[in-house]
Protein backbone atom coordinates (compact mmCIF):
# COMPACT_ATOMS: atom_id res chain seq x y z
CA UNK A 1 0.00 0.00 0.00
CA UNK A 2 1.20 3.46 -0.70
CA UNK A 3 2.26 5.04 2.56
CA UNK A 4 2.95 8.28 0.76
CA UNK A 5 -0.72 8.99 0.10
CA UNK A 6 -1.47 8.27 3.77
CA UNK A 7 1.15 10.79 4.82
CA UNK A 8 -0.51 13.31 2.54
CA UNK A 9 -3.90 12.66 4.10
CA UNK A 10 -2.37 12.94 7.57
CA UNK A 11 -0.97 16.32 6.71
CA UNK A 12 -4.34 17.44 5.37
CA UNK A 13 -5.99 16.05 8.48
CA UNK A 14 -3.72 18.11 10.70
CA UNK A 15 -4.70 21.21 8.73
CA UNK A 16 -8.43 20.53 8.70
CA UNK A 17 -8.57 18.84 12.08
CA UNK A 18 -10.35 15.58 12.87
CA UNK A 19 -12.16 13.24 10.54
CA UNK A 20 -10.99 13.06 6.93
CA UNK A 21 -14.59 12.67 5.80
CA UNK A 22 -15.01 16.35 6.60
CA UNK A 23 -12.57 17.03 3.76
CA UNK A 24 -15.43 16.22 1.40
CA UNK A 25 -17.04 19.43 2.58
CA UNK A 26 -14.06 21.36 1.25
CA UNK A 27 -14.19 19.73 -2.17
CA UNK A 28 -16.65 22.08 -3.96
CA UNK A 29 -14.71 25.11 -2.77
CA UNK A 30 -11.36 23.69 -3.84
CA UNK A 31 -12.68 22.74 -7.28
CA UNK A 32 -14.39 26.08 -7.83
CA UNK A 33 -11.44 28.05 -6.52
CA UNK A 34 -9.00 26.19 -8.75
CA UNK A 35 -11.13 26.35 -11.87
CA UNK A 36 -12.44 29.86 -11.45
CA UNK A 37 -9.59 31.71 -9.80
CA UNK A 38 -6.20 30.03 -9.73
CA UNK A 39 -6.18 28.84 -13.37
CA UNK A 40 -7.33 32.04 -15.13
CA UNK A 41 -5.50 34.44 -12.83
CA UNK A 42 -2.38 32.28 -12.95
CA UNK A 43 -2.54 32.32 -16.72
CA UNK A 44 -2.94 36.08 -16.72
CA UNK A 45 -0.05 36.64 -14.33
CA UNK A 46 2.18 34.34 -16.38
CA UNK A 47 1.84 36.92 -19.16
CA UNK A 48 3.28 39.55 -16.85
CA UNK A 49 6.55 37.66 -16.61
CA UNK A 50 6.75 36.49 -20.23
CA UNK A 51 8.00 38.78 -22.94
CA UNK A 52 8.34 37.17 -26.41
CA UNK A 53 8.34 33.69 -24.86
CA UNK A 54 11.13 34.30 -22.34
CA UNK A 55 10.93 35.14 -18.66
CA UNK A 56 11.56 38.81 -18.17
CA UNK A 57 10.78 41.71 -15.84
CA UNK A 58 10.51 44.13 -18.74
CA UNK A 59 6.80 44.74 -18.13
CA UNK A 60 7.49 45.78 -14.52
CA UNK A 61 10.42 47.95 -15.61
CA UNK A 62 8.02 49.69 -17.98
CA UNK A 63 5.47 50.28 -15.20
CA UNK A 64 7.91 51.61 -12.63
CA UNK A 65 9.69 53.90 -15.09
CA UNK A 66 6.50 55.51 -16.39
CA UNK A 67 5.19 58.43 -14.36
CA UNK A 68 1.62 57.76 -15.52
CA UNK A 69 1.55 54.24 -14.02
CA UNK A 70 3.22 55.32 -10.78
CA UNK A 71 0.67 58.12 -10.45
CA UNK A 72 -2.14 55.62 -10.93
CA UNK A 73 -0.74 53.27 -8.26
CA UNK A 74 -0.18 56.09 -5.76
CA UNK A 75 -3.64 57.51 -6.45
CA UNK A 76 -5.22 54.06 -6.00
CA UNK A 77 -3.51 53.58 -2.62
CA UNK A 78 -4.37 57.15 -1.53
CA UNK A 79 -8.07 56.86 -2.44
CA UNK A 80 -8.33 53.39 -0.89
CA UNK A 81 -6.62 54.44 2.35
CA UNK A 82 -8.90 57.46 2.72
CA UNK A 83 -11.98 55.37 1.90
CA UNK A 84 -10.92 52.70 4.41
CA UNK A 85 -10.32 55.26 7.16
CA UNK A 86 -13.70 56.94 6.65
CA UNK A 87 -15.62 53.68 6.24
CA UNK A 88 -13.96 51.99 9.23
CA UNK A 89 -14.66 54.81 11.64
CA UNK A 90 -18.20 55.60 10.47
CA UNK A 91 -19.09 51.93 9.97
CA UNK A 92 -17.82 50.99 13.44
CA UNK A 93 -19.76 53.83 15.05
CA UNK A 94 -22.93 52.91 13.17
CA UNK A 95 -22.55 49.25 14.09
CA UNK A 96 -21.93 50.22 17.73
CA UNK A 97 -25.11 52.27 17.68
CA UNK A 98 -27.10 49.44 16.09
CA UNK A 99 -25.88 46.82 18.57
CA UNK A 100 -25.76 48.73 21.86
CA UNK A 101 -27.99 51.79 21.59
CA UNK A 102 -30.82 51.27 19.09
CA UNK A 103 -34.17 49.86 20.07
CA UNK A 104 -34.82 48.32 16.67
CA UNK A 105 -31.70 46.53 15.57
CA UNK A 106 -33.43 44.48 12.86
CA UNK A 107 -35.00 47.44 11.12
CA UNK A 108 -31.68 49.29 10.97
CA UNK A 109 -29.87 46.23 9.63
CA UNK A 110 -32.58 45.85 7.00
CA UNK A 111 -32.10 49.48 5.96
CA UNK A 112 -28.35 48.91 5.60
CA UNK A 113 -29.12 45.84 3.53
CA UNK A 114 -31.55 47.74 1.29
CA UNK A 115 -28.70 49.99 0.11
CA UNK A 116 -26.96 46.87 -1.22
CA UNK A 117 -29.97 45.70 -3.20
CA UNK A 118 -29.51 48.29 -5.93
CA UNK A 119 -26.79 47.43 -8.42
CA UNK A 120 -23.53 49.31 -7.91
CA UNK A 121 -23.62 50.88 -11.40
CA UNK A 122 -27.10 52.31 -10.71
CA UNK A 123 -25.99 53.65 -7.34
CA UNK A 124 -22.94 55.31 -8.85
CA UNK A 125 -25.04 56.84 -11.62
CA UNK A 126 -27.16 58.22 -8.81
CA UNK A 127 -24.10 60.08 -7.58
CA UNK A 128 -23.35 61.28 -11.11
CA UNK A 129 -26.81 62.86 -11.18
CA UNK A 130 -26.41 64.25 -7.67
CA UNK A 131 -23.03 65.78 -8.48
CA UNK A 132 -24.10 67.32 -11.82
CA UNK A 133 -24.60 71.06 -12.01
CA UNK A 134 -28.14 72.14 -11.24
CA UNK A 135 -28.73 69.11 -8.98
CA UNK A 136 -30.66 69.30 -5.69
CA UNK A 137 -27.38 68.73 -3.89
CA UNK A 138 -25.86 71.83 -5.51
CA UNK A 139 -28.89 73.96 -4.64
CA UNK A 140 -28.93 72.73 -1.04
CA UNK A 141 -25.22 73.29 -0.52
CA UNK A 142 -25.04 76.59 -2.42
CA UNK A 143 -25.07 78.75 0.75
CA UNK A 144 -21.96 76.92 2.04
CA UNK A 145 -20.08 75.79 -1.08
CA UNK A 146 -18.90 78.31 -3.64
CA UNK A 147 -17.52 75.99 -6.26
CA UNK A 148 -19.69 72.86 -6.66
CA UNK A 149 -17.49 70.75 -8.87
CA UNK A 150 -17.19 67.41 -7.14
CA UNK A 151 -17.88 65.29 -10.19
CA UNK A 152 -14.74 63.86 -11.84
CA UNK A 153 -12.61 64.35 -8.71
CA UNK A 154 -11.01 62.04 -6.17
CA UNK A 155 -13.55 63.29 -3.61
CA UNK A 156 -16.37 61.94 -5.79
CA UNK A 157 -14.62 58.56 -6.06
CA UNK A 158 -14.13 58.37 -2.28
CA UNK A 159 -17.81 59.23 -1.69
CA UNK A 160 -18.89 56.51 -4.11
CA UNK A 161 -16.53 53.96 -2.55
CA UNK A 162 -17.58 54.79 1.01
CA UNK A 163 -21.20 54.23 0.05
CA UNK A 164 -20.28 50.96 -1.62
CA UNK A 165 -18.11 49.58 1.20
CA UNK A 166 -19.96 50.87 4.28
CA UNK A 167 -22.48 47.98 4.46
CA UNK A 168 -19.65 45.43 4.46
CA UNK A 169 -17.96 47.15 7.41
CA UNK A 170 -21.27 47.48 9.26
CA UNK A 171 -22.27 43.84 8.83
CA UNK A 172 -18.86 42.53 9.90
CA UNK A 173 -18.76 44.82 12.95
CA UNK A 174 -22.36 44.15 14.00
CA UNK A 175 -21.57 40.44 13.97
CA UNK A 176 -18.52 40.85 16.20
CA UNK A 177 -20.03 43.40 18.59
CA UNK A 178 -23.16 41.27 19.06
CA UNK A 179 -20.97 38.51 20.44
CA UNK A 180 -19.52 40.68 23.18
CA UNK A 181 -21.33 39.84 26.40
CA UNK A 182 -22.94 42.92 27.99
CA UNK A 183 -21.80 41.71 31.39
CA UNK A 184 -18.13 42.23 30.41
CA UNK A 185 -18.62 45.97 30.05
CA UNK A 186 -20.77 46.00 33.19
CA UNK A 187 -18.02 44.15 35.06
CA UNK A 188 -15.48 46.73 33.89
CA UNK A 189 -17.73 49.57 35.07
CA UNK A 190 -18.29 47.76 38.35
CA UNK A 191 -14.52 47.55 38.86
CA UNK A 192 -14.14 51.30 38.45
CA UNK A 193 -13.79 51.90 34.70
CA UNK A 194 -15.60 54.87 33.20
CA UNK A 195 -17.64 54.39 30.02
CA UNK A 196 -14.67 55.52 27.93
CA UNK A 197 -12.20 53.27 29.76
CA UNK A 198 -14.53 50.30 29.45
CA UNK A 199 -14.80 50.94 25.70
CA UNK A 200 -11.04 51.32 25.20
CA UNK A 201 -10.06 48.33 27.32
CA UNK A 202 -12.92 45.92 26.68
CA UNK A 203 -15.12 46.64 23.67
CA UNK A 204 -12.40 47.86 21.33
CA UNK A 205 -9.85 45.06 21.92
CA UNK A 206 -12.62 42.44 21.85
CA UNK A 207 -13.81 43.79 18.49
CA UNK A 208 -10.31 43.78 17.01
CA UNK A 209 -11.43 41.15 14.50
CA UNK A 210 -14.10 43.49 13.15
CA UNK A 211 -11.47 46.15 12.56
CA UNK A 212 -9.09 43.69 10.92
CA UNK A 213 -11.64 41.83 8.79
CA UNK A 214 -13.82 44.86 8.02
CA UNK A 215 -10.84 47.12 7.31
CA UNK A 216 -9.16 44.55 5.07
CA UNK A 217 -12.38 43.92 3.17
CA UNK A 218 -13.00 47.62 2.61
CA UNK A 219 -9.40 48.27 1.58
CA UNK A 220 -9.28 45.34 -0.86
CA UNK A 221 -12.63 46.32 -2.38
CA UNK A 222 -11.43 49.91 -2.79
CA UNK A 223 -8.06 48.98 -4.27
CA UNK A 224 -9.70 46.89 -6.97
CA UNK A 225 -12.66 49.21 -7.57
CA UNK A 226 -13.59 49.90 -11.15
CA UNK A 227 -17.08 51.35 -11.47
CA UNK A 228 -16.72 54.20 -9.01
CA UNK A 229 -13.53 55.71 -10.55
CA UNK A 230 -14.78 54.97 -14.06
CA UNK A 231 -18.02 56.96 -13.64
CA UNK A 232 -17.14 59.48 -10.93
CA UNK A 233 -13.43 60.03 -11.56
CA UNK A 234 -13.36 60.95 -15.23
CA UNK A 235 -10.27 60.55 -17.37
CA UNK A 236 -7.86 62.31 -15.02
CA UNK A 237 -8.49 60.20 -11.91
CA UNK A 238 -8.08 56.64 -13.09
CA UNK A 239 -7.33 53.90 -10.63
CA UNK A 240 -5.46 50.66 -11.37
CA UNK A 241 -8.49 48.66 -12.51
CA UNK A 242 -9.51 51.35 -15.01
CA UNK A 243 -5.97 51.52 -16.38
CA UNK A 244 -5.86 47.74 -16.83
CA UNK A 245 -9.22 47.90 -18.59
CA UNK A 246 -8.07 50.51 -21.07
CA UNK A 247 -4.67 48.83 -21.58
CA UNK A 248 -6.43 45.67 -22.71
CA UNK A 249 -9.54 47.21 -24.27
CA UNK A 250 -7.88 50.02 -26.20
CA UNK A 251 -4.35 48.93 -26.95
CA UNK A 252 -4.23 45.16 -26.33
CA UNK A 253 -1.24 45.54 -24.01
CA UNK A 254 -1.79 42.24 -22.20
CA UNK A 255 1.72 42.03 -20.75
CA UNK A 256 1.68 45.44 -19.03
CA UNK A 257 -1.93 44.96 -17.96
CA UNK A 258 -1.04 41.63 -16.34
CA UNK A 259 2.00 43.14 -14.63
CA UNK A 260 -0.16 45.99 -13.33
CA UNK A 261 -2.69 43.45 -12.03
CA UNK A 262 0.09 41.57 -10.27
CA UNK A 263 1.38 44.84 -8.79
CA UNK A 264 -2.14 45.59 -7.50
CA UNK A 265 -2.32 42.20 -5.78
CA UNK A 266 1.11 42.52 -4.17
CA UNK A 267 0.53 46.13 -3.10
CA UNK A 268 -2.85 45.31 -1.53
CA UNK A 269 -1.47 42.24 0.26
CA UNK A 270 1.60 44.09 1.59
CA UNK A 271 -0.41 47.01 2.94
CA UNK A 272 -2.90 44.61 4.58
CA UNK A 273 -0.07 42.70 6.28
CA UNK A 274 1.24 45.97 7.74
CA UNK A 275 -2.30 47.09 8.68
CA UNK A 276 -3.07 43.83 10.50
CA UNK A 277 0.28 43.96 12.31
CA UNK A 278 -0.38 47.50 13.52
CA UNK A 279 -3.95 46.78 14.67
CA UNK A 280 -2.82 43.64 16.48
CA UNK A 281 0.02 45.50 18.17
CA UNK A 282 -2.30 48.28 19.31
CA UNK A 283 -5.25 46.19 20.46
CA UNK A 284 -3.94 42.67 20.90
CA UNK A 285 -2.69 43.05 24.46
CA UNK A 286 -3.90 44.83 27.54
CA UNK A 287 -0.39 45.83 28.54
CA UNK A 288 0.34 49.50 27.78
Amino acid sequence: MSSRSYAGIDRLRSVVGGDTSSLVLLLPLVVAFTALFIVPVGQLFSRAFLVDGTISLANFREIFSTGLYIDVIVRTVRISALTTAITMVSGYLLAYYIVFRSSNKRLLLLLVFVTMMVDLVIRIFGWVVAFSSGSILEILTSPFVEDFSILFSETAIVIGLVQFTLPFMIFVTVGVLSNIDDSLVEAARDLGATRAQAFLRLTLPLSMNAIIVGGSLVFALSMSSFVSPQLLGGGRNRMIANTIFSLIGNSGEWGIAAALGFTLLVTTASILVIFIAIVTALLGSDRP
Binding site: L184, E186, A188, R189, D190, L191, G192, R201
Partner: protein
Protein backbone atom coordinates in the same frame (compact mmCIF):
# COMPACT_ATOMS: atom_id res chain seq x y z
CA UNK B 1 -24.07 49.65 62.10
CA UNK B 2 -26.16 49.76 58.99
CA UNK B 3 -24.27 49.46 55.76
CA UNK B 4 -26.79 49.31 52.93
CA UNK B 5 -30.24 50.78 53.29
CA UNK B 6 -33.03 50.51 50.75
CA UNK B 7 -35.91 52.87 51.45
CA UNK B 8 -39.17 52.30 49.51
CA UNK B 9 -37.26 51.38 46.36
CA UNK B 10 -39.39 50.79 43.28
CA UNK B 11 -38.14 49.90 39.81
CA UNK B 12 -40.47 49.82 36.84
CA UNK B 13 -39.65 48.64 33.32
CA UNK B 14 -42.52 50.03 31.26
CA UNK B 15 -45.65 48.35 32.61
CA UNK B 16 -43.70 45.83 34.64
CA UNK B 17 -42.89 46.60 38.25
CA UNK B 18 -39.79 44.52 38.90
CA UNK B 19 -39.18 45.80 42.42
CA UNK B 20 -42.18 47.16 44.31
CA UNK B 21 -41.68 49.48 47.29
CA UNK B 22 -38.90 47.45 48.89
CA UNK B 23 -37.20 48.55 52.12
CA UNK B 24 -34.53 46.81 54.14
CA UNK B 25 -31.37 47.44 56.10
CA UNK B 26 -28.28 45.30 55.71
CA UNK B 27 -25.78 45.50 58.56
CA UNK B 28 -22.00 45.53 58.34
CA UNK B 29 -20.34 42.13 57.92
CA UNK B 30 -23.67 40.49 57.23
CA UNK B 31 -24.25 37.71 54.72
CA UNK B 32 -27.57 38.74 53.25
CA UNK B 33 -29.24 36.34 50.82
CA UNK B 34 -32.11 37.34 48.58
CA UNK B 35 -33.99 34.25 47.42
CA UNK B 36 -37.01 33.83 45.21
CA UNK B 37 -38.27 32.34 41.98
CA UNK B 38 -37.10 33.75 38.65
CA UNK B 39 -38.67 37.10 37.86
CA UNK B 40 -39.22 37.93 41.53
CA UNK B 41 -37.04 41.06 41.36
CA UNK B 42 -33.98 39.70 43.17
CA UNK B 43 -31.52 40.30 40.34
CA UNK B 44 -33.00 43.75 39.70
CA UNK B 45 -32.47 44.54 43.39
CA UNK B 46 -28.82 43.64 43.01
CA UNK B 47 -28.44 45.69 39.82
CA UNK B 48 -30.02 48.67 41.59
CA UNK B 49 -27.47 48.41 44.40
CA UNK B 50 -24.62 47.96 41.88
CA UNK B 51 -25.77 50.99 39.90
CA UNK B 52 -26.65 49.30 36.60
CA UNK B 53 -30.25 50.39 37.10
CA UNK B 54 -31.58 53.55 38.70
CA UNK B 55 -34.62 53.29 40.97
CA UNK B 56 -37.91 54.69 39.62
CA UNK B 57 -38.52 55.94 43.15
CA UNK B 58 -37.07 55.49 46.62
CA UNK B 59 -33.50 55.78 47.81
CA UNK B 60 -30.48 53.54 48.31
CA UNK B 61 -27.76 54.51 50.79
CA UNK B 62 -24.35 53.15 51.62
CA UNK B 63 -23.13 53.98 55.14
CA UNK B 64 -25.79 56.66 55.41
CA UNK B 65 -24.84 58.38 52.13
CA UNK B 66 -27.37 58.24 49.29
CA UNK B 67 -25.78 56.49 46.28
CA UNK B 68 -28.77 56.20 43.95
CA UNK B 69 -27.39 58.89 41.62
CA UNK B 70 -23.82 57.52 41.41
CA UNK B 71 -22.48 55.63 38.37
CA UNK B 72 -21.44 52.01 39.04
CA UNK B 73 -17.73 52.93 38.91
CA UNK B 74 -18.19 55.49 41.69
CA UNK B 75 -19.65 53.07 44.24
CA UNK B 76 -17.47 51.07 46.60
CA UNK B 77 -19.53 48.01 45.72
CA UNK B 78 -18.22 45.13 43.61
CA UNK B 79 -20.14 42.39 41.91
CA UNK B 80 -19.52 38.76 40.97
CA UNK B 81 -21.55 38.02 37.85
CA UNK B 82 -23.53 34.88 37.19
CA UNK B 83 -21.42 34.04 34.13
CA UNK B 84 -18.30 35.40 35.94
CA UNK B 85 -17.72 38.00 33.15
CA UNK B 86 -13.95 37.42 33.16
CA UNK B 87 -12.19 39.45 30.47
CA UNK B 88 -11.21 36.83 27.87
CA UNK B 89 -8.32 38.83 26.39
CA UNK B 90 -6.59 39.34 29.72
CA UNK B 91 -4.69 36.85 31.89
CA UNK B 92 -5.91 36.04 35.39
CA UNK B 93 -3.41 38.51 36.83
CA UNK B 94 -4.53 41.26 34.43
CA UNK B 95 -8.17 40.52 35.20
CA UNK B 96 -7.59 40.95 38.91
CA UNK B 97 -5.33 43.98 38.50
CA UNK B 98 -7.89 45.68 36.24
CA UNK B 99 -9.79 47.20 39.15
CA UNK B 100 -6.54 48.32 40.81
CA UNK B 101 -5.54 50.13 37.60
CA UNK B 102 -8.95 51.75 37.19
CA UNK B 103 -8.86 52.98 40.77
CA UNK B 104 -5.32 54.36 40.47
CA UNK B 105 -3.88 52.08 43.13
CA UNK B 106 -0.09 52.38 43.39
CA UNK B 107 1.25 50.07 40.60
CA UNK B 108 4.08 48.90 42.89
CA UNK B 109 1.53 47.09 45.05
CA UNK B 110 -0.42 45.39 42.24
CA UNK B 111 1.56 42.15 42.09
CA UNK B 112 1.50 41.53 45.82
CA UNK B 113 -2.19 42.35 46.12
CA UNK B 114 -3.04 40.03 43.22
CA UNK B 115 -0.97 37.26 44.83
CA UNK B 116 -2.61 37.84 48.24
CA UNK B 117 -6.15 37.68 46.90
CA UNK B 118 -5.34 34.55 44.85
CA UNK B 119 -4.12 32.97 48.10
CA UNK B 120 -7.36 33.99 49.75
CA UNK B 121 -9.48 32.21 47.13
CA UNK B 122 -7.17 29.19 47.20
CA UNK B 123 -5.69 29.48 43.69
CA UNK B 124 -2.09 30.68 44.13
CA UNK B 125 0.30 31.02 41.18
CA UNK B 126 -2.13 31.09 38.26
CA UNK B 127 -1.65 34.78 37.38
CA UNK B 128 -0.47 33.97 33.87
CA UNK B 129 -3.27 31.60 32.86
CA UNK B 130 -6.07 32.81 30.65
CA UNK B 131 -9.70 32.46 31.79
CA UNK B 132 -10.69 30.07 28.97
CA UNK B 133 -8.15 27.51 30.24
CA UNK B 134 -9.73 27.37 33.71
CA UNK B 135 -12.55 25.18 34.99
CA UNK B 136 -15.89 26.69 35.99
CA UNK B 137 -15.00 26.50 39.68
CA UNK B 138 -11.66 28.20 39.10
CA UNK B 139 -13.25 30.94 37.00
CA UNK B 140 -15.71 31.48 39.81
CA UNK B 141 -12.87 31.97 42.30
CA UNK B 142 -11.07 34.37 39.95
CA UNK B 143 -14.25 36.42 39.58
CA UNK B 144 -14.46 36.53 43.36
CA UNK B 145 -10.79 37.50 43.66
CA UNK B 146 -11.22 40.26 41.08
CA UNK B 147 -14.02 41.79 43.15
CA UNK B 148 -12.31 41.29 46.52
CA UNK B 149 -8.92 42.73 45.56
CA UNK B 150 -10.46 46.20 45.81
CA UNK B 151 -11.50 45.53 49.43
CA UNK B 152 -15.05 46.74 48.79
CA UNK B 153 -17.58 47.76 51.42
CA UNK B 154 -20.12 45.50 49.80
CA UNK B 155 -19.78 42.38 47.67
CA UNK B 156 -22.67 41.50 45.37
CA UNK B 157 -23.05 37.89 44.27
CA UNK B 158 -25.47 37.26 41.40
CA UNK B 159 -26.28 33.52 41.43
CA UNK B 160 -22.54 32.75 41.37
CA UNK B 161 -22.97 29.07 42.13
CA UNK B 162 -25.75 28.26 39.68
CA UNK B 163 -23.42 27.09 36.91
CA UNK B 164 -21.50 24.65 39.12
CA UNK B 165 -22.30 20.97 39.71
CA UNK B 166 -23.66 20.03 43.10
CA UNK B 167 -20.43 18.85 44.77
CA UNK B 168 -18.53 21.92 43.67
CA UNK B 169 -21.45 24.11 44.67
CA UNK B 170 -21.44 22.67 48.19
CA UNK B 171 -17.68 23.22 48.50
CA UNK B 172 -17.94 26.76 47.15
CA UNK B 173 -20.68 27.54 49.68
CA UNK B 174 -18.29 26.68 52.50
CA UNK B 175 -15.53 28.68 50.77
CA UNK B 176 -17.76 31.71 50.23
CA UNK B 177 -18.75 31.73 53.87
CA UNK B 178 -15.10 31.42 54.98
CA UNK B 179 -13.94 34.20 52.66
CA UNK B 180 -16.76 36.46 53.79
CA UNK B 181 -15.84 35.87 57.45
CA UNK B 182 -12.12 36.43 56.80
CA UNK B 183 -12.57 39.64 54.86
CA UNK B 184 -15.48 40.95 56.89
CA UNK B 185 -17.12 42.16 53.69
CA UNK B 186 -20.85 42.73 53.65
CA UNK B 187 -22.18 40.21 51.14
CA UNK B 188 -25.45 40.37 49.26
CA UNK B 189 -26.10 37.10 47.50
CA UNK B 190 -28.93 36.42 45.08
CA UNK B 191 -30.10 32.89 44.38
CA UNK B 192 -33.16 30.86 43.44
CA UNK B 193 -31.81 27.88 45.37
CA UNK B 194 -33.43 27.69 48.81
CA UNK B 195 -30.84 25.30 50.28
CA UNK B 196 -28.05 27.65 49.25
CA UNK B 197 -29.93 30.57 50.78
CA UNK B 198 -30.51 28.82 54.08
CA UNK B 199 -26.96 27.52 54.45
CA UNK B 200 -25.16 30.75 53.53
CA UNK B 201 -27.28 33.46 55.05
CA UNK B 202 -27.15 35.42 58.25
CA UNK B 203 -30.36 37.02 57.03
CA UNK B 204 -32.63 35.57 54.37
CA UNK B 205 -34.86 37.84 52.32
CA UNK B 206 -37.60 35.98 50.45
CA UNK B 207 -38.92 37.88 47.44
CA UNK B 208 -41.86 37.20 45.16
CA UNK B 209 -43.43 39.37 42.45
CA UNK B 210 -41.23 42.32 43.33
CA UNK B 211 -42.16 42.44 47.00
CA UNK B 212 -40.49 41.09 50.14
CA UNK B 213 -42.41 38.20 51.67
CA UNK B 214 -40.20 37.81 54.74
CA UNK B 215 -36.79 38.78 56.11
CA UNK B 216 -35.13 36.98 59.00
CA UNK B 217 -32.49 34.50 60.11
CA UNK B 218 -32.62 31.17 58.19
CA UNK B 219 -34.12 29.16 61.06
CA UNK B 220 -36.86 31.71 61.51
CA UNK B 221 -37.95 31.92 57.89
CA UNK B 222 -37.76 28.15 57.58
CA UNK B 223 -39.61 27.13 60.74
CA UNK B 224 -41.74 30.26 61.20
CA UNK B 225 -42.71 31.28 57.67
CA UNK B 226 -44.95 34.28 57.61
CA UNK B 227 -47.13 33.08 54.75
CA UNK B 228 -47.88 30.21 52.47
CA UNK B 229 -45.50 31.39 49.75
CA UNK B 230 -42.49 31.38 52.09
CA UNK B 231 -43.52 28.03 53.54
CA UNK B 232 -43.80 26.41 50.11
CA UNK B 233 -40.76 28.07 48.57
CA UNK B 234 -38.27 27.18 51.30
CA UNK B 235 -38.25 23.42 51.08
CA UNK B 236 -41.03 20.86 51.27
CA UNK B 237 -44.00 21.79 53.34
CA UNK B 238 -47.49 20.69 54.19
CA UNK B 239 -49.86 23.61 53.82
CA UNK B 240 -53.62 23.22 54.00
CA UNK B 241 -56.52 25.60 54.01
CA UNK B 242 -58.31 25.18 57.32
CA UNK B 243 -61.30 26.53 59.18
CA UNK B 244 -61.27 27.10 62.92
CA UNK B 245 -63.69 24.73 64.65
CA UNK B 246 -62.76 25.44 68.20
CA UNK B 247 -60.19 27.66 69.87
CA UNK B 248 -59.20 27.74 73.53
CA UNK B 249 -56.26 29.22 75.41
CA UNK B 250 -53.48 26.95 74.09
CA UNK B 251 -54.89 24.84 71.27
CA UNK B 252 -56.88 25.47 68.12
CA UNK B 253 -58.95 22.76 66.53
CA UNK B 254 -59.07 22.97 62.77
CA UNK B 255 -61.10 21.41 60.03
CA UNK B 256 -58.98 20.52 57.03
CA UNK B 257 -59.96 19.22 53.58
CA UNK B 258 -63.57 20.45 53.71
CA UNK B 259 -63.54 19.74 57.43
CA UNK B 260 -63.21 16.02 56.79
CA UNK B 261 -60.02 15.80 58.85
CA UNK B 262 -59.55 17.39 62.26
CA UNK B 263 -56.14 18.83 63.02
CA UNK B 264 -55.03 20.43 66.28
CA UNK B 265 -52.56 23.28 66.34
CA UNK B 266 -50.67 24.80 69.24
CA UNK B 267 -50.81 28.21 67.58
CA UNK B 268 -53.36 30.92 68.03
CA UNK B 269 -55.59 31.63 65.06
CA UNK B 270 -55.62 35.03 63.43
CA UNK B 271 -58.86 36.94 63.02
CA UNK B 272 -59.85 35.68 59.60
CA UNK B 273 -62.14 32.69 59.19
CA UNK B 274 -59.93 30.55 56.97
CA UNK B 275 -56.43 29.78 58.06
CA UNK B 276 -53.49 28.05 56.48
CA UNK B 277 -52.23 25.16 58.57
CA UNK B 278 -48.52 24.48 58.05
CA UNK B 279 -45.99 21.90 59.21
CA UNK B 280 -42.70 20.60 57.83
CA UNK B 281 -42.48 17.00 56.54
CA UNK B 282 -39.63 16.20 58.96
CA UNK B 283 -42.02 16.74 61.88
CA UNK B 284 -44.46 14.05 60.74
CA UNK B 285 -44.02 10.85 62.77
CA UNK B 286 -44.64 7.47 61.11
CA UNK B 287 -45.12 4.24 63.08
CA UNK B 288 -46.68 0.81 62.64
CA UNK B 289 -48.73 1.24 65.77
CA UNK B 290 -49.30 4.08 68.13
CA UNK B 291 -51.99 4.86 70.69
CA UNK B 292 -54.75 7.27 69.82
CA UNK B 293 -53.92 10.82 70.71
CA UNK B 294 -53.99 14.34 69.39
CA UNK B 295 -53.33 14.50 65.64
CA UNK B 296 -52.86 10.76 65.30
CA UNK B 297 -54.27 9.30 62.12
CA UNK B 298 -54.61 6.05 60.23
CA UNK B 299 -53.05 6.55 56.83
CA UNK B 300 -51.90 4.70 53.75
CA UNK B 301 -48.53 5.13 52.06
CA UNK B 302 -49.40 6.53 48.64
CA UNK B 303 -45.87 6.78 47.25
CA UNK B 304 -42.26 6.72 48.27
CA UNK B 305 -39.36 8.60 46.71
CA UNK B 306 -35.78 7.79 47.65
CA UNK B 307 -33.68 10.95 47.44
CA UNK B 308 -30.39 9.72 48.86
CA UNK B 309 -30.21 11.33 52.25
CA UNK B 310 -33.85 10.67 53.12
CA UNK B 311 -37.03 8.99 51.90
CA UNK B 312 -39.94 11.18 50.96
CA UNK B 313 -43.41 9.66 51.48
CA UNK B 314 -46.84 10.80 50.37
CA UNK B 315 -49.40 9.69 52.92
CA UNK B 316 -53.17 9.54 52.39
CA UNK B 317 -55.35 10.22 55.40
CA UNK B 318 -58.97 9.30 54.68
CA UNK B 319 -61.59 11.86 55.62
CA UNK B 320 -64.15 11.19 58.33
CA UNK B 321 -67.12 12.24 56.27
CA UNK B 322 -66.18 11.63 52.64
CA UNK B 323 -63.50 9.82 50.68
CA UNK B 324 -61.34 12.84 49.79
CA UNK B 325 -59.25 13.17 52.90
CA UNK B 326 -55.80 14.66 53.05
CA UNK B 327 -52.46 13.93 51.39
CA UNK B 328 -49.40 14.99 53.33
CA UNK B 329 -45.68 14.74 52.80
CA UNK B 330 -43.39 13.11 55.35
CA UNK B 331 -39.67 12.36 55.59
CA UNK B 332 -38.55 9.19 57.27
CA UNK B 333 -35.47 6.99 57.56
CA UNK B 334 -37.51 3.82 57.85
CA UNK B 335 -38.76 1.72 54.98
CA UNK B 336 -42.40 1.67 54.02
CA UNK B 337 -43.96 0.27 50.91
CA UNK B 338 -46.61 1.96 48.82
CA UNK B 339 -50.06 0.75 49.90
CA UNK B 340 -48.95 -0.16 53.40
CA UNK B 341 -51.07 1.14 56.30
CA UNK B 342 -49.29 3.41 58.73
CA UNK B 343 -50.00 5.41 61.88
CA UNK B 344 -49.18 9.06 61.47
CA UNK B 345 -48.67 11.68 64.16
CA UNK B 346 -48.30 15.41 63.69
CA UNK B 347 -47.15 17.17 66.89
CA UNK B 348 -49.62 20.03 67.53
CA UNK B 349 -46.82 22.38 68.58
CA UNK B 350 -45.32 22.05 65.09
CA UNK B 351 -48.55 23.00 63.35
CA UNK B 352 -48.47 26.71 62.60
CA UNK B 353 -51.25 28.93 61.41
CA UNK B 354 -50.23 31.31 58.64
Amino acid sequence: MSNITLDSVTKEFGDLTAVDDVSYIINDDEFFVIVGPSGCGKSTSLRLIAGFETPTSGSISLKGEPIGHLAPEDRDIRMVFQNYALFPHMSVGENIAFGLKMNNVDPETHDSRVADVLDLVGLPDIEDSYPETLSGGQQQRIALARALVLEPDVLLLDEPLSNLDKNLRDRMQVELKRIQRETGVTAIHVTHNQEEALSLADQVCVMNDGVIEQIGPPEEVYYRPRNRFVADFLGDSNTFSATVLNADSDTTELGVADSSVRLVSGAEPSDSDTQTAFFRPEHVGMAEQSPDGTNTFDATVASRLFTGDKIRYQLDIPGETDADGLTLTAFSDSQWEAGQPVRVRVPPEQVLLL
